[in-house]
Amino acid sequence: MAGVVATIAREPKSLAGRIAKDMIISGIIVFLLGSQLIGIETIDDPKGLRFITRYDDVLAAALAVALGRAGLQMLRAGMAKPVLIGSLAFAVAVIGSTLIGGERDLSLLPFDNKIVDWVFGLTAVVFAIRAAVVHGRGSASAHRRGAVMDKISAQTQRFSPYAAGLMILLAVLLPVLFPERRIVDMGILVLTYCMLGWGLNVVVGLAGLLDLGFVAFYAVGAYSYALFAHYFDWSFWACLPLAGAMSAFFGLVLGFPVLRLRGDYLAIVTLGFGEMIRVILINWWWFTGGPDGIRDIPRPSFLGLPFERESPDGSATFHSVVSPILDSMFGIELEFAPLHRIVYLYYIILVLSMVVCVFTLRLRRLPIGRAWEALREDETACRALGINPRNTKLTAFAIGAMIGGFGGAFFATRQGFISPESFSFIESAVILAIVVLGGLGSQLGVVLSSTLLIGLPEVFRELADFRMIAFGAGMVLIMIWRPRGLLAHRDPTVLLHGKAGLKRSNRAMASEGSG
């Protein structure tokens, strides 16, 4: 016995021997632990409890740990490149084959459980990232990497007019290129969050007021429209400005008491306000419908024409009016399709979000926008320059809330049914994550991150809960590598030397590492 222990304890000479020993020992440990924890599953049978064994899963776990140890040892030995290439190739092969396989099991790995395939694939991705970090640390310092990233975001900013043009063109053509309900629906969702992100960006990115209760204004907008429609039968287009005004008013009311608070304290109070609105909506049941919500919210009409096959009273519908016109002018037969309404909704939110984008871009270049940024930088200095901090903050709250209200009204008309459940804290968190991930104050960053955070989870919906893990992992990685967001770059709002000045400004920021 003592001899065996001594043999195991002796350090092997060669690297390969060391790695092999590490793999075997960790594999055995996982096998011993896993044979109890993973290997036996209790099944609740009608006849009573019974056990089944899952040896293949135990083997998979042991193998995964052994491979991981090998990778770690190689990383420690300074072999970052082979690990990076190997794990990337492995990840691509496994995830690719699993994705292509779809329902059939085409995976390269011999397991009949798809989730295990995914775990292997994603582990390899994590390994590749780690190897990349080690590799990067060897070749470039963190400071240099930061400077390079800053340069990239400055370049992105420079090309953003073209990128934005291309994106808008793509967005306009999306329903034509992909006339599928699933894709157009996703487009609507991404655009809604873009708009909310731009709204919150005014409050958090420009004015620097950390607002964790943005969903309150979203809820106020949605309920304003739903209630006006419910009690007065007002149309969507009449209620849209009203919903914005109501939300802006609530922004003022909620903003007023928190004027003196900053940072964490402000975040906590706004969080509370977000919850208060939700709780009020639940408990004011005779007015808001309580937890049952409001149903049958009218859909938006096109110049007064509803999107229905036949209207109940026989009056004109979109289809009955437009299809003869198209027929006579272009000879195109337009069949009635439910998709028309979805596409119409898509274009509404596209126009709304574009208006919001231009509006917020312009605001930033106006004195009020500069005052917001100055307030974020130093409130005391602002007061010493005669800027009214109270009014400036309240305008930021009101304008952010107004945009949230527009988003809410659109949400209500799209869903046709709203209940307080739709306005939980997680919504605020997601919108805030979009703003922070994109880079505080960056318009393009919001588009990028809402595509990443809203679009990708929708695409990978079949992964169920695992996508939330990926979401969290992504956020952690961004916070490590790019704590100020993907496209954190600020261009001055007014230049003395034109383009040359912009270049100098970018260089100064990159050298300082604060771009």
């Binding site: 005052a371 940024e373 130093d378 320059l385 003395l496 300082e512």
Partner: protein
């Protein structure tokens, strides 16, 4: 000497303010709980003059500034500004209105720029209130009307004039935080001047500057006094700045005014010497030291 001696009686309220008085501080007292930071201080800052406020550390100089600029509400006292438009009582005004309506600008002991914003933006932000009116409280600005664009061009032109004065034109588009320390000090003064103040309050503008930089600062301050029709109130430790450019000096110690007068008068004042160098015990000091004392203060 007689002027200095009469002013050294701390409780004397300035007689009915002379026509050239811009700011009269009367019986200013500021208590924080049991601590009396300023005790019954009265003085007058005249138009088109640089008034220096000096005193050892903890004498209450910055507290006087904070009372003047609305950051503190004085416990007792009257702060009367003889503004060209109408006389104003500063102690009754909201903080930001003192800059906006009364036209009192200030700088800070620890520089407070907007570091992420460009140098030019720092100067344009200072013209916020005029630009807000021109942009129709953002309404005309959103619509891109010409009226606002003209106003913005004017604001940039004014900023440029100040950038010329402080030698920062080439770096106008860089972030203010990336400037060297001395340039940040000058920029903060230029930013304060961009609100068109009648009174500029500078809290230790020469702190941390090298002799060449503080020489440039002297010239900048004198040009502000002579060309901009702005009175200057100056807190400073650097005696080479205060004694050279001040027209009038107020000396504080432990929250009390111990002397007031021209630089020469203050330099020779026994109260001041005692405050700076400790109790003067004439008999014990060799003559050679006594001769040196005024020089230490110069």
């Amino acid at each position: 000497m007689s002027a200095a001696l009469s002013a050294a009686t701390p409780n004397r309220v300035p007689a009915e303010s002379s026509p050239s008085a811009l700011l009269s501080v009367e019986h200013l007292t500021m208590r924080f709980g049991g601590l009396v930071a300023i005790n019954d201080v009265s003085f007058v800052a005249a138009q088109r003059q640089i008034t220096g406020i000096i005193g050892p550390n903890g004498a209450g100089k910055t507290t006087v500034f904070n009372c003047l600029t609305g950051f503190y509400k004085p416990t007792v006292g009257r702060l009367m500004l003889h503004h060209p438009a109408r006389p104003m009582l500063l102690e009754q005004m909201e903080g930001f209105r003192i800059a906006k309506d009364a036209g009192i600008a200030r700088t800070f002991q620890n520089i407070r720029l907007f570091p992420a914003m460009s140098v030019l933006e720092n100067l344009v932000v200072a013209q916020h209130n005029r630009l807000m009116r021109a942009s129709g409280y953002s309404l005309f600005g959103i619509l891109g009307l010409k009226r606002y664009r003209v106003a913005e061009d004017e604001a940039v032109a004014k900023a440029r004039r100040w950038l010329d004065k402080i030698d920062l034109v080439p770096r106008a588009d860089e972030p203010a935080g990336s400037l060297p320390y001395g340039a940040q000090r000058r920029l903060e003064i230029a930013r304060a001047m961009c609100i068109d103040p009648v009174l500029l309050c500078l809290d230790e503008p020469a702190a941390g500057l090298n002799p060449k930089e503080s020489g440039e600062l002297n010239e900048l301050l004198m040009s502000i006094r002579d060309e901009e029709n702005t009175a200057v109130l100056l807190i400073e430790h650097d005696m080479s700045v205060v004694m050279k450019i001040s027209d009038h000096i107020v000396v504080l110690d432990y929250g009390r005014k111990i002397a007031e007068g021209s630089p020469d008068a203050v330099r020779a004042d026994p109260n001041v010497i005692r405050a700076y160098l400790g109790e003067e015990e004439d008999e014990d000091l060799p003559d050679i030291v006594k001769q040196d004392i005024p020089e230490v203060l110069s």
